[in-house]
């Protein structure tokens, strides 16, 4: 072709080829957003529930009198027990800010409701809603032309991956589902849970313990004031539209609870109580410890869902500005008592009070025994210890200590310039060898790391081996001590 024709055909050809990308994405429509498909989703793949549910309610503006908003935990609450015309807006990793946005959109589009139940997770005070703008599974619905356009561009011009190829080739079927049209607990799922919870008691202790699920928790930046502002905005919106608002805090599994900064959560609760009364199920009571009441580290069982609904209906667990201080004191006491008697080895956050402070080991005072170890040296500098690691072997064998209580608590505060591993080896019998199968492992991040470990006394009595770090470098140890 002539060069002049080449120029025109270059532009046209490029345009046509580029258009293959949106065409492919539209055809596959992994999150069912582009087709606004309320009735199908790919088997084994999540659709964008928050987008579709909001759009669905807008399409049925007078069908519901109550909305239940919250995270995936809301899926274990039977919304029909709130009222027969309740729609469950829950979506995975749900955030109040997004629900607030959805509510605004729905009300603007003429949706009429009388009651609103909102469940809050602890992560409301650290998870930034902005992250959701770029999440295909959670991008919210906004009913304006510009936002609609942005949303379509977002989904049409996304990078396809191998899963899209499989979907396109029909490897995963598009199945009919009612998760958008009737988002109530499915009978089958409830039956499975009932069968699970009928396991004889003697088997229970053999069940594998549930691992914590921290969802990339980072104990550095919090958004308490932003969360409170969202709640204030939600309250104002509800008042404006004469909607009765019920706010409650979901319970947490104890392994999650003790790893989070409880002083921050306490601050949040205190501020929340000053805004409006709420129902608080977030505490270290028997429900938090009982593995049989948890599906996994994040999600409670249906029975807990029923318990929450009943408690709210009977106005139990209501916290307001009048009783918040007494309530928080009670929670603290409950945590302190229960932790000391909890079995096993586990980590907990600095903000959680433990019963005793009698020091049984302090590396700062005993470092001379380890200062010239084969793999590293320890030197005292400005009330800290400098650990210069020359090889990968950083073992410190701690002599057996005779303790008198059920639990010993270890506190480590260390600064590292790189990511590395802390390992704590323990023995069931004094004559056993240390082994990889009996060790506690913690990933130290770059920067300052502060961690607490609750250790059963028998391990301390048998002698521990501590590998504070796992890589060659220079570290600063601010604290390494044990107390009972």
């Amino acid at each position: 072709m002539h060069k002049k024709s080449y120029i025109y055909f270059f532009i046209i050809g490029t345009f046509l080829l580029v258009m293959l990308l949106p065409l492919f994405n539209y055809t596959v429509d992994r999150w069912r957003v582009l087709h606004s498909d309320y009735e199908h989703h790919y088997a084994g793949h999540m659709c964008n529930k928050t987008f579709l549910k909001t759009k669905y309610v807008i399409a049925h503006p007078k069908a519901y009198d109550t909305l239940l908003m919250g995270s995936s935990n809301g899926g274990y609450m039977d919304s029909t027990k709130i009222s027969s015309h309740t729609y469950n807006m829950k979506y995975n990793f749900g955030l109040l800010a997004i629900h607030l946005q959805n509510l605004k959109t729905m009300l603007k589009q003429g949706v009429k409701i009388q009651n609103l139940w909102v469940g809050i997770n602890d992560y409301i005070i650290w998870k930034d809603p902005k992250d959701y703008e770029n999440s295909f599974e959670r991008r919210p619905y906004k009913a304006t032309i510009l936002e609609d356009m942005k949303t379509y561009i977002f989904y049409l011009f996304r990078k396809p991956d191998i899963t899209d190829w499989y979907l396109w080739r029909g490897r995963y079927r598009l199945v009919t589902a009612d998760i958008i049209t009737h988002p109530h607990p499915h009978t089958e799922a409830k039956k499975r849970e009932d069968a699970h919870f009928k396991i004889p008691k003697k088997w229970k202790k053999h069940m594998k313990d549930i691992a914590p699920s921290l969802l990339r928790y980072d104990d550095t930046s919090y958004r308490i004031d932003a969360a409170i502002a969202e709640i204030k905005a939600l309250k104002a919106l509800c008042e404006k539209h004469h909607i009765h608002l019920t706010l409650f805090m979901y319970p947490a599994y104890y392994k999650n609870y003790i790893l989070y900064n409880q002083s921050k959560i306490e601050t949040f609760k205190r501020k929340l109580a000053s805004v409006m009364p709420f129902y608080d199920f977030y505490r270290l009571n028997h429900r938090a410890y009982d593995a049989m009441k948890w599906q996994d580290g994040m999600h409670f069982a249906y029975s807990t869902g029923d318990f929450i609904i009943n408690s709210i209906k009977q106005h139990k667990a209501l916290v307001s500005v009048a009783n918040i201080e007494a309530h928080l004191e009670e929670i603290k006491y409950e945590a302190k008592e229960s932790l000391a008697h909890q079995e096993g080895m586990y980590m907990f956050h600095n903000s959680i009070d433990v019963p005793s402070k009698h020091i049984v080991f302090d590396l700062q005072k005993q470092y001379v025994y380890y200062k010239n170890s084969p793999g590293f040296t320890l030197k005292e500098k400005n009330a800290t210890l400098v650990m210069d690691v020359k090889t990968y072997d950083t073992s410190m064998v701690l002599a057996p200590i005779a303790t008198h209580y059920q639990k010993v608590f270890m506190s480590v505060d260390i600064t590292s310039s790189q990511k590395t591993l802390l390992r704590l080896y323990y023995k069931d019998n004094p004559k056993d060898e240390y082994h990889e199968s009996r060790r506690f492992l913690y990933r130290l991040k770059k920067g300052r790391n502060s961690l607490n470990i609750a250790i059963p006394s028998r391990y301390v009595n048998n002698g521990l081996r501590l590998n504070l770090v796992d890589d060659k470098d220079i570290y600063t140890i601010h604290k390494c001590m044990m107390y009972e």
Partner: protein, 496 residues
Amino acid sequence: MLFSTFVFILGFLPVVFLGYFILNKKKLLIASKVWLIFSSLFFYSWWNIAYLPLILASVLFNFILTNSMLHVKASSVMNKKVLLLIGIIFNVGLLVYFKYMDFFISNVNALTDSEIALLHLALPLGISFYTLQQIAFIVDSYEGLVKKKNFLDYTLFVVFFPQLIAGPIVHYKEVMPQFESIKNKIFNYNNIALGMFIFSIGLFKKIVIADTFSIWVHQGFDVAYTLSFFDAWIASLSYTFQLYFDFSGYSDMAIGIALLFNIALPQNFNSPLKATGMIDYWKRWHITLTQFITAYIYTPIVRSFVPLTFHKAMFATLLVFLISGMWHGAGWTFIFWGFLHGISVVINHYWQKKVKIKMPQYLAWFITFQFLNFGNVFFRATDFDRAISILQSMVDYHHILVSDYLIRRMRYWGYSVEKLDGYSAAHSFVDVDAVLMIVLGFIIALGFKNSTQLQQAFSTMKRVSIRWYLWSILLMSLSFMVMSFQTTTEFLYFNF
């Protein structure tokens, strides 16, 4: 504004292009130049308008200075020399102040145990390039190579947006006659077609190749102390390819854009990764910089050595490579990188002059490539400790890890991977994607014709074949697709 963004390709470029030729068609020749100057300054200010006064002041000062040179009497050599010195001191001083001040202060602090506060000056974009271009212009004016000029032409020569930020470094006598030529004032379909073709190659190099490699470069160099054997190799090779495809991609795009305006910019790369020696490499890599250094630094140094000997010439070579290293960045790793390249070029000269043994081509290529790859670790690492740690990992074949994801993939594909169980880690990025991309990098860099060869072949064609057409739209559309879902990164040479 980056060349590899929609706002540039679909917004800025068509507007400037149409505006320029419409004004030319209406015979508003000065207005068309003014249009290009304003467009270029707008392009430059897009990043940070705060940089604009500096470049304008620099252009104005250099124009006044060189204009004074033209008006100095021919007999007054001393005055001309003084003006030349003032010009060089001004331009180098500007560069030193903005680029090297903090480096000097931190070294003084380290040597004298003092605590002089760092200035934390932001490096004005393109200062390293437009400073060199203007120094070359001053020297050319001093030597009488520039006969006439006006402020508009001079400003356009410095700020013409395709080459403003990162070259190719051009000479006044190369570019301005092209702007003056009447036949270049009209639409030239051959040049437009060629420009689009070269631009599509450059865009593909940047968006699809270089930006993909940048992922492993970041992953590797950010955790320099904990890299395993394969991770270190993937990180270093990725950087070598990223650097080449990023910068040559930028140069291709600059050449392609300039061609739309009927301006031919000089070639900047000639398949440098095919080099079979370090002398050969520097004839192929960043050619316009090598030409500048040779003409304006190396030659004056060598001329000052009387009598000139081979050893003195080698000393001068080493010296200009140290300067070249420093020009690339204010840090000891850059100076060391320059030193390494200088030493290797000197060794290459000795080999050619004294040893005189011809090495097999493949061996010569292998040694050259490995040297470049190892040297680039110093070029990219933020300090010596990290660079050395990466190099140690590259030879520590006992410490082998592959990514968890690879193990899972292999298991999914039905391979028995029990033997690899102890060698997997979540932080490792040894995966099929990285290895395939590196293989692809080698194939493209070594097995294909380079942009200049393709440009020559394309320009000699009377008609464009379907094969060439399909390739060009494929490269362009793939780049556009990737641009639509991936944030493009800045060009590496913007930091130098």
